[in-house]
């Protein structure tokens, strides 16, 4: 039996995982939300303590391929910032980030009365992460002369009094690539800017050392981090809904790993 199982067509495993992920959405199953991890709680608490009117900048450093993990984070963070009457600024170090920023901020602002240019702004994409991050530390207007709609910064009420990192309460990098390291090196380390990071789960283990050394305030780790932030802000979004499938699929994969190992050793013993 084990020998036959070791030769199982892997498409059966694909089908099983697909069913496990899909069925909770069809039947609207929902597991109770888990506890909020300390890195998520730390970021929430920091945002919660910022005085109203403080500028918060979110850098959209990802593309549509990472949307399932990072877009719910962006929406949850933006919703929280707008609810707290913080000034919400978006920039992008990836070309597709401009569109994703617009989508996230528009969704978060629905029903809050927040207006583009007044309570939130999308400054758009600039190439060259290094020069952008360093430039923001000296003079924002030298990096961004206008927002993504070509409205000059001096005509945007939200930008009044915002010149550099000195005026920004928190920068959050939502990343699917190498940009968190750049933000830590150039914004946090050089200018002392308070920094939070939301990243895909693949790269989370590279980010945790910065958390340990207190170079970042908090970290949102993949879909789980997004769901935790939705939970702590009392909002049920797509990340929270996805966690039921995620949890069941994890159990299935643990089961597959165990069965695979038992099968491997059992069939090896038979060969001997």
């Amino acid at each position: 039996m084990w020998h036959r199982m070791m030769r199982l067509d892997r498409r059966w495993i694909f089908l099983t995982v697909a069913l496990i992920v899909t069925v909770p959405f069809i039947f609207q199953w929902a597991l109770p939300p888990g506890s909020v991890s300390p890195p998520t709680r730390a970021l929430y608490d920091f945002l919660e303590k910022l005085p109203p009117g403080s500028p918060v900048m979110i850098s959209f450093d990802y593309g549509p391929a990472s949307m399932p993990e990072l877009q719910p984070m962006a929406e949850a963070l933006a919703r929280h910032a707008l609810k707290r009457k913080l000034r919400l600024m978006g920039i992008a170090l990836w070309p597709q980030g401009t569109m994703l920023c617009q989508q996230a901020f528009t969704t978060a602002a629905e029903g809050t009365g927040a207006r583009e240019g007044h309570e939130w702004v999308n400054l758009g994409y600039k190439p060259g992460a290094l020069s952008v991050i360093l430039g923001l530390g000296t003079d924002i207007t030298q990096v961004y002369r206008a927002d993504h709609r070509e409205v000059p910064l001096r005509d945007l009420p939200i930008m009044a009094g915002v010149r550099s990192y000195d005026d920004i309460g928190l920068v959050i990098d939502l990343a699917a690539g190498m940009t968190p390291g750049d933000w830590v090196r150039f914004a946090q380390s050089r200018f002392g800017q308070a920094l939070g990071i939301g990243c895909t789960a693949v790269m989370a283990t590279d980010i945790y050392p910065y958390l340990q050394s207190k170079q970042v305030i908090g970290v949102l780790n993949g879909l789980k981090g997004a769901a935790e932030y939705e939970s702590v802000t009392n909002h049920t979004g797509r990340a929270s809904l996805g966690m039921t499938s995620q949890s069941i699929a994890h159990l299935a994969i643990i089961f597959f790993v165990l069965i695979g190992n038992i099968g491997y050793f059992a069939s090896r013993g038979r060969r001997r």
């Binding site: 070309p95 290094l130 789960a201 693949v202 993949g222 995620q246």
Partner: protein, 244 residues
Amino acid sequence: MPDAVPAPDALPPLAQLLGLWVAAFLTLAIFSFLYGDNPLYKLAEHIFVGVSAGYGVVIVYYEAFLSDLINPLFRPEKASLDHPNYWLLIPGILGLMILGRFIPRYDWLSRWPIAFVIGLGAGATIPSTMQADIIIQLRETIAPLWAPAPGQSLALAAWVSFSRLVLAAGVICTLSYFYFSLPHRGALALTSRVGVGFLMVAFGAGFGNTVMARLSLLIGRVQFIRYDWWPTVGPLLRRILDHF
């Protein structure tokens, strides 16, 4: 239910509807690769590469080339400037020199801007990397093992101390595994073996996170199919049937 779920029988505007159906078709075409390589998968793959590249070019043209170079030089009023900024001619010319790569006779021209970029990058990155990735990380690794914060409970202080001990042991043992100037015998064999254990734990954590990330991508697509595309199927079919 998430906020983005459309109401039953409601159809989005035609352009959005078309986008939803194209996206659903491309999603299923990509997933068809799980059964085996096929022309639908190839089609979706090529569309993805082409659209990504095209979108990137358009965004860079409008949000960088036009707004950072052309407007400040030739249309200063659009760049919120009183006068043209002629200093931008220098990076503009350096940028043009990069294109020398395409003409074998003049490809040497591209070395200057590349040298500039490498010099700038190295000059800015090396000190910052030393500070952020080495000095601060080292400082946190060699933090005192027992240093309770004011007002901290004994249990929490003990836990923090234990965490620091594990961190220090992990760093020392892992480094000893990569120490090749002595044979791994005796104490060095023990520490390097423990170091391998720490490495395995790190790889396991990385793999676990990778599984979570890949499942999240699948969940994202399933949510799109379930909450964005599927609700349009019934109303659209009804409208088509009513039409006939």
